[in-house]
Each structure stands twice: as C-alpha cells, then as structure tokens.
Symmetry: none
Subunit: 209 residues, 4 copies
DNA sequence: ACTTACGGGACCACCCGTTCTT
DNA sequence: AAGAACGGGTGGTCCCGTAAGT
C-alpha cells in the first residue's frame, strides 16, 4: 500500500522533469548540478533519485519526450505553423534540444542511447516527402532537396530563437522561403502567391514592384 | 633571451590551440579535461598553462579567432561562397562554434567575455545591410528581414553539418534561397539559369508571375 | 526531518572542529591538507564540507571561538588566573592562536575577515582599563602602559608555552610582574608576602625604600 | 675562470636573501611562492636556484643567520638595549623569526635542521645567568626565573611589534619590568631606582606618590 | 650566469550517488 | 517517500624544481 496516490507520484515526476528542464536550459547539462536541481525543484536528492536513476536518465527523458515535435507540426499543419511553433514555443525546450544535439556529438554513451530511440521513431521519410509535394513545393528540383532546405530554415530559426537574436517577421519569412530573396522585377501573378500565403494562414499582402 | 626561438613559441601555441580545438569539438568544453588536453597535445600542464592562463582563456581564443569567419565570407564573396565555406570547412571548427554559442547561453562569465569582444568587433551592421542591397536582394521586403533570413539559412546549414545530417546540393540550395520553394508556374528554362546563378552565387533573377 | 538528531549534528561538528584544531596545531594552516583533516577526523570530504563551507571557514571558526578567551579571564579573574590559563590550557589552542596571528599578517583576506569580527567584539577598551585600575595597578604610570606591559607578559608566556621552552613558576612570575626584577634593598620577609600575593593574584603591595 | 667576480656572486646572494626575507615576512613561507620570489628579487628561477638548492634552504639561511641576535644584545648591553633593538629593528626580521618558530612546530624536517644548528650555538646558559646576576637582578628569587621572566617580556614585545599593536613607551616598560606594576604606596628610595634607570640609559624620572 | 619552457605532483573544491534515518 | 549525512572520485589550478638553451 503506497503512502501516496499514483497521481501524486506522477505529479512529482512531472515537477521534477519541469524543474530539470529549466535547469538544463539555463546551465547546460554539466552546469545543472544536482544541487541546482534540488533548488529548482524544491525537492532533495532522495526525492529526485527516487524517480530517476541518475542525472543522465533525467536528461534522456526530457530530451527524448519532445524531440520530434516541430517536424510533426510541419507535416501536419505546414511550414507557417512550424515556424510559428518555433517562435512561440517554450524557449527552455529549444535550449534542451540544442544541449541534446551537443551531447549526441560529444558523449558516446548518450549518442548510443539516442540513436536507439531515433531508430524506432524514424519510419517513413517517404510519406513525409509525399506530403511535402502535396503541400505545393516546386517540382523542378529534387524533392529531398526542398525538404533539406526547409529543415535548414527550421533549424536556423530555432538557433536564432535560442541565442536570443531578433526574430524575423513570420509573414515575411514565409514569403521569402516561398519565393526567394532574388530581386523583384516582374509584377505578374500575385494571385498565385496570394494563394500560397493564404495556405499558411498569413494575411494577404501585396508585393510592390 | 628566451630559451627557444620566437618561432618555436608560436608553433607551440598553435599546436596547443589545434589540440585543444580537437578536444573541445570531440568532448565539449567540460568534457575536454586538462588530462585530455595533455594527451591530445602530448604536452604537460606546465607547458599548456605556460601559454594560456587557464582553460577558459584557451577556449576563448579558439572560439574568438574564428567567430566572424563565415559572415565575413558571406559579405565579401556572397552567399554561395559562405555556404560553401560552411560545407567544406573543418568540422571541428563548427563544433567549437556550437559549443561557444551554448556557453554564451549558460555561462554568464563567458557571455560577458564574448559580449565585450563582440562590441569592439561589431561596428557597422548598417554597412552590411547596404552591402546586402548591393548584392541584389529584392527590395519589396525590409532589408533586415532578408538579412535575418539569410543568416537563418547559414545557421541552419551549419547545424546540419555539425550533427552530420546529409547535406544539400549547394547549387540547388542557392536556387531555393534565391527563388523560393513555391510552385513553378512559368516554363522558361529555369534550370539553365539557375545553374549559372548558382555557379557564381549571383542573386540576379527574374521572378516569373 | 533530518536524517540524524540535532545532537548528533552538533557532536559531529565538534568532532570535526577538534580534529581540525589538532591538525592546524600540528601542521599549520597550509600543512593541514584536507586529506589530513579527513584522516584526523576519520571522516570524508563529503562529511567535513557538509558542516563547513571550506577550509578557511573551519579555521576561522576555530580561531574565532577562542580568540578572546585569555584576556577575558584576565579581566574577570586577574592576572594570576590568566597566566594559569595560558600554562594549563590545551597546547593546540595556543598553536592555533599563533597560526591565526601569522595568517592575519600574511593573508589579506583572512585579515579582513578577522578585523570585521574584532570590530563587533571590541566595544570598550575604556572599561577594560577602568577594570585594570580597580585591580590595583600603580597609578604613577599611564594606565594604558600598564595594560600593554601585562599583555606583553601574557603574549610572551604564550609563545614560550607554544614553542615548548621551560615554563616559569607562576608564583614567582606573578611576584616579578608585581614588584619587578630590580634588586631588593629591603629585608622585610618579602618571600612570605610574595607567596600570599601570588596565591590570589592580588596586586596589593608595599614598595620598600 | 668565472664570468663574474666573487664579489658579484656574493652580492647576488645577498640580494636574493634580502628579497626572500621580505617575501617570507609578507606572505609567510607557503605564501612566498617562487614566482613571488622572482618578482621581488627581479631575478628568475634559474638565478635563484643557482644560489640556493631550494626554497627550504633559502629560508633556513635567512632564519638561521639572525636567530640569536636579540638575546646577544640583551646580555651585552642590557635589557633596555634589547627592548630598543626589538622596537627599532627591521620588522621583516621579526616576521621571519615568527615564521621560523611556527615552522619549527609544524615541519619536522625543518625542526631537525634548526635543532642541529641550535646545539652548536647554545653552549653556556650558565655564563648567561651569571651575567644576569651581575646586571643587578634581585636575588630573593631563583635567577633562572628572572631570566625566564625577561625572555617572556622580550618575546611578548616582539609579538606585539610583529602584529602591529601599539608599542609601549620604553622608559615606562623598563620601569615596570624593574619595579613591577603593583600600586605605589611608599615614597622611599627613589635614588636606588634612579640608579637602575640610569644604567639602562633612561632619563631620570621621579615617581610620584 | 641567467632565462624560460616544461614536467608532473598535490591541493582544494565540487559533485554525484548512496545510505541511513525518520 | 523523502531528507540529509556522507563517501570518494575527479577537475582545474598552482607551484616547485629541472633542464634545455643563450
């Protein structure tokens, strides 16, 4: 007979995870000492290590539980939504993602851990590309290249957000991704672009010559 | 009268820096213990700390001496060259850059150090934007937004390179940055022109209706 | 709810302090390495630094908690009692006092620390001098000078004790402090009176022509 | 054929010793790092360790060459002169003496070193006591006790000087040592005391009732 | 004679995880 | 279940002394 309810236990776990996420975001993995985890969570070692085997496990859970989030949004709701997601989402989350990628590079143990998890989550880049084509991507270029380009933009925006640099106006960003940064010379076919914009939920806007 | 020639000293310094760079890239800042720095450089503490006050100073020098490199290339030789730089440059270098940005986020002391250095190196984002306009960026959109967009792409590509994901074809990437991923509606031989543009990184372009 | 009782904690603290005092006395501040503190106390770093922030704090506490002890005895119970205190007290204590004065001289940080503490403990050298006058000190000499003389004797005796030189007979010492070492010119049974005086540390005395 | 004269060598040695003495006085033995010795002397390791085997040897030489100085003055020129010596002598010297006694207590190797040297210098405490009696010390008290008393005063004054506490007026101090701090009740025999004072070179002074 | 690079030992502080207690 | 004491490993830094070189 447990002293506390299952619910309480689950809550504690989440509390700890949330506090740890803030810590990892603020101080980095190594900087997030157990003392700081205690402080941030208001709990003590005994509590923390009761729910998680060690600091590593805590980090793995945090890094893993949200890893695919952005690309999911992208494929389900389009580029605009994905960019919005990045801009509005919890900054801590992004920091932890960055911390995670760094640790993948430097810590072999952690890398193995993540790779195992990745494998099971991957499954189906083919569908993703198909989806991409559906979304109206130009077809004079290999579709994978377009995918890479978009993921580059996503990553780049995420980094920008993480480091605190000024963020772009999303409407403009979508416009640029959509039709490039090359100089405007021709005034034709605004409707087509307008359609594209509308698709991403952007308020219609006119491109002056 | 020093014991060894000035040349030898300079060489040693560079040896140590190179070894440290490899270490920081491989293990991260915290993971690059002094023991590993010794091992990687084949020198002893006494030697290393004869040239650098402490580990921090070693890192700062490495991070600082290359920090502005890519954007410089960008502004001097155009986007294409900058992307090429990212794709072909030493992978360790990119890792250290990433490590550096992470430390800026988490280590307040390091942040202050970097910010101080940035301040003196900044001087003139105005010129940069002017340069950007010269390079033929579309003017129906705020020029800063275009700048942000490009730096997003640069960052995104760097991350991609760092984490080892498959890299895009540069010609195609430039084409996409230049004219967007929106669906093609004009049938005028874009591939040929795209190739030409990609080759010299020139942004001149006609946007079809 | 602490793991152990308050009593246990207090005991541990005292154990550590006692062990540290022995260490500091035996090896000096720098010689009292943490390894030796561990060895002497039978505890580990974890234990020791759980009770004290660092080695410095440990030393400050030891030095501080007994610093005013002798002069207090002096003013409350007279010279004889103070001398007795010095002669009979724990030799380690004296060594630590000496170590402390030395560190005040050489370590600026420690000096500041001590001076701050002194300031709050001082409060009233005037009263002390008044007390001194009460105790029956000769008044043909500035009272401060008498105070200085007595503290010189105290310090000198302490040093003698510390370095292990043969100690004086206290009765005789009191007699000498009281009536000086100048040649006796009066034949009135001074020994008897001297003995009586020495016994209660009373300064009353007749100076024969 | 030496490059430099014997004189030069000797000078260098003395320079180093003087600088080291300042260092040891200012920072203590452990605090006087070789780097500081270099700085203070303006010479480099190579030079210093060319003249002295190691830091220890340097300290031993400094501590040893002046150790008996004060008591010599005392026996040759009397108490007053000895006290004066202490008050006016180089403060660094006193600090080093203190440092030396401390190291005798804590460093077994150093203790052995010093003890060996002491042995050869001791020789003849008997004569010293005889001398003391000659100087006119009261004889109703064991002469050794008087000797101890005086050395206590000497030590105490030295400590006082070392730590920077306000020093006593020497005339008064001699008077107190000579005739004690007990209250004045009798107005007799100033001539006798005056003689004693004169012996120490003190300006004659009257003791009021 | 003197400088400087360098080797390598040691110390304090920190930190993670365990154990004991409540 | 949770809190705190505690063990013990390790990291960066400092520092002494040596040796290579001028």
């Amino acid at each position: 007979m447990p002293k506390v309810s299952e619910l309480h236990k689950e809550r504690r776990r989440e509390e700890i995870l949330a506090a740890a996420q803030r810590c990892f975001a603020k101080h980095g993995y190594e900087g997030a000492t157990v003392a700081r985890l205690e402080e941030e969570s208001g709990l003590s070692r005994g509590a923390i290590f009761n729910y998680f085997e060690n600091k590593e496990a805590l980090f793995v859970e945090i890094a893993g539980r949200t890893s695919k989030q952005v690309t999911d949004v992208w494929f389900e709701h389009g580029l605009r939504a994905a960019l919005e997601e990045i801009v509005t989402m919890d900054a801590d989350w992004l920091s932890v993602q960055m911390e995670s990628t760094r640790r993948v590079l430097t810590d072999p143990k952690f890398r193995r851990h993540v790779e195992a998890k990745e494998a099971e989550l991957q499954a189906g880049s083919a569908e993703r590309l198909a989806k991409l084509r559906e979304l109206g991507v130009r077809d004079d270029v290999p579709i994978e290249q377009a995918g890479i380009f978009l993921s580059i933009v996503l990553n780049g925006l995420a980094i920008r957000r993480t480091v605190g640099d000024p963020l772009p106006d999303l409407d403009t960003l979508v416009e640029l991704v959509d039709s490039g940064i090359g100089p405007r010379r021709v005034k034709k076919s605004p409707p087509a672009r307008a359609r594209a914009r509308a698709r991403d939920g952007r308020p219609s806007r006119e491109t002056p010559g």
